[in-house]
């Protein structure tokens, strides 16, 4: 058992899924669901936005082989209200701590979402809010967007003074210095800790047409190829910010990777791509730690 946050809530292990990479409904069908629940630290829900979102055009994924994949989902989700009303209680029923992942397009949306979450009757069904501030697959992605997210974190903190908030960041746009700077802003705005890293930005070209495969050209690059970048990011974050919770994410595929992430300074480890090939690998990885 570990206690990743100061509120004393214990997690069975430091291993979590990354947002959008595990369908909680699988816990009704996985033959080894009980073993899964025993092994996992928490369930992270798919990122919800203020309003339902249809996502990006197809194709949305590109298989890059052994190094990973590109995705351009575009935050498709049923919206925050549906997530709070349905997705959250369904996930909570499995008995694991739940992380609610949210994204706001602008400061007003963040404010609305903070109010909605704080006043919702299912408010007690999640443990952590993960503020996704780094999705590469939506229209806005620049430093001004991050500043809006920082404002959003302030709104969340004001509305939910005692809830752990993890801000999810990536060095994709601004490199390592940018990541550290964004983390500093997020923590100053009230974030409890940092989830790092979200996907990098990648491109795949169609050999036949010579054009990008994805309609939005670039996509989020994840998988084993980004693991060294994720590891370095966590290491640098830990050097700069002692004592904060850090959820290390990015290309974690084996128990050795997860252990390396913990050794680099992560408090928790999120697994994304690896759970695609076999959902039970999440639990196997946790058990092997």
């Amino acid at each position: 058992m570990i206690v990743p946050f100061k509120d004393g809530v214990a997690y069975a292990s430091p291993v979590l899924n990354a947002a959008g990479t595990f369908n909680p409904a699988l816990l009704h069908t996985l033959a080894e669901a009980d073993a899964f629940k025993r092994a996992m630290g928490a369930l992270v829900l798919k990122t919800a936005t203020r309003h339902p979102r249809a996502g990006n055009p197809q194709p949305r994924t590109v298989d890059l082989g052994a190094v990973g994949m590109l995705n351009s989902i575009g935050l498709q989700n049923p919206g925050l209200v549906a997530m709070l009303q349905t997705g959250l209680p369904q996930a909570h029923a499995h008995g694991l701590p739940v992380w609610l992942s949210v994204w706001g397009d602008d400061e007003a949306e963040w404010a609305e979402m903070a109010e909605l979450i704080a006043s919702h009757p299912h408010r007690d069904k999640f443990h952590v809010i993960e503020a996704n501030s780094s999705c590469p697959n939506v229209a806005h992605h620049a430093m001004p967007e991050f500043k809006q997210a920082t404002a959003g974190i302030r709104q969340l903190r004001a509305a939910l003074p005692n809830t752990p908030i993890m801000t999810k960041l990536s060095p994709a746009e601004f490199g390592m210095h940018g990541l550290l700077a964004m983390a500093e802003h997020a923590l100053a705005a009230g974030s409890t800790g940092i989830t790092a890293i979200n996907t990098l930005i990648g491109l795949a070209m169609d050999r036949t047409t010579g054009e990008p495969v994805l309609p939005r050209k670039t996509g989020g690059y994840s998988g084993p190829g980004i693991f060294p970048v994720a590891l370095a990011s966590v290491y640098k974050l830990r050097e700069q910010f002692a004592g904060i919770p850090i959820a290390g994410a990015g290309g974690v595929s084996t128990a050795q990777d997860a252990q390396a992430m913990l050794n680099a300074g992560a408090t928790l480890v999120q697994v994304g791509c690896a759970s695609f090939t076999q959902p039970m690998r999440l639990a196997e990885l946790a058990q092997a730690l």
Binding site: G20, T21, F22, N23, A25, L26, H28, T29, L30, A31, K46, A54, G55, P57, Q58, P59, R60, T61, D63, G65, A66, V67, G68, M69, N71, I73, Q76, G223, P224, S253, T254, C273, A274, S275, F276, T277, Q278, P279, M280
Partner: protein
Amino acid sequence: MQCGLSSVNHEAEMPRKRGKLYSWTSVVAHNTTLGPDEALITLKADAGWLPEIARQFYGAPGAFAMLTMVPHDLDGAKFGLGRPYTPFAIETDGTMLIYAHAVGTHSRRLVASPAGTRVTLTGPMGLGWPNVQHSALFFADAYNPAPVFSALTHPDKPSARVFVLSPDAVQPALWSWAAAYLAANQTQTPITLPLTDKTLLALEPFLDKAVLPPESPDWIGVCVQDAAMSSALLAWAAERYPDALRLRYAKPTMACGTGSCYGCVEVTTGARVCWEGPVLRDCSL
């Protein structure tokens, strides 16, 4: 036409609710080459196999398994996305027959895999065909025999009529094998339609010439890769057999197959094909 999720999911017609999801290791027992980029692969499950897995597949013919060669035989790589494979048949001893067509690195490796190659399977996934014991009418194209055959060789196989589109033009080796396979399983041989023109106008006379059941089947399954052809068939079916449940088998690229990533969502329906499908109710494509 925009279709909501409630209109595309046919879970209410399924003989059982979603079954258990398993992960197991199999070994390539036989590789029958059909061409430079295609092969029939016989897989045999290892000692961890449970007959229960086969029973879950029988509960939903047309459901699929995600197959990955990692962490076994992909040059020591620790990652490789799975590919969905609908088995032609799956036996209680863990034998499973799949058709592999090389489209990328991963599937090319599988097509060329010698006996003894180890793979990991996760399944069954998705919602297959409903109530197989009822009467059905199938349309299949050259690329998608397995979802249809898994229903035709089911112990409670439907009283079905099968039409195969353009079998002579594409993958004749596969369909030659498939016809023999069906004959060996005492199942009706498909009626082939030598269609080359993908238009509704061209389709109608061929269908009329074929021996169509006089009474409406309980459901009509369209398992055709080309979206325009699929729409044309479903439109025809709606007019000819308005009371039949009309279903189509969708097979896009899938990243996870578990409804987690939303990578296979159909833009017009909003359905995650792996989770609400791959068999979906008739809806605008």
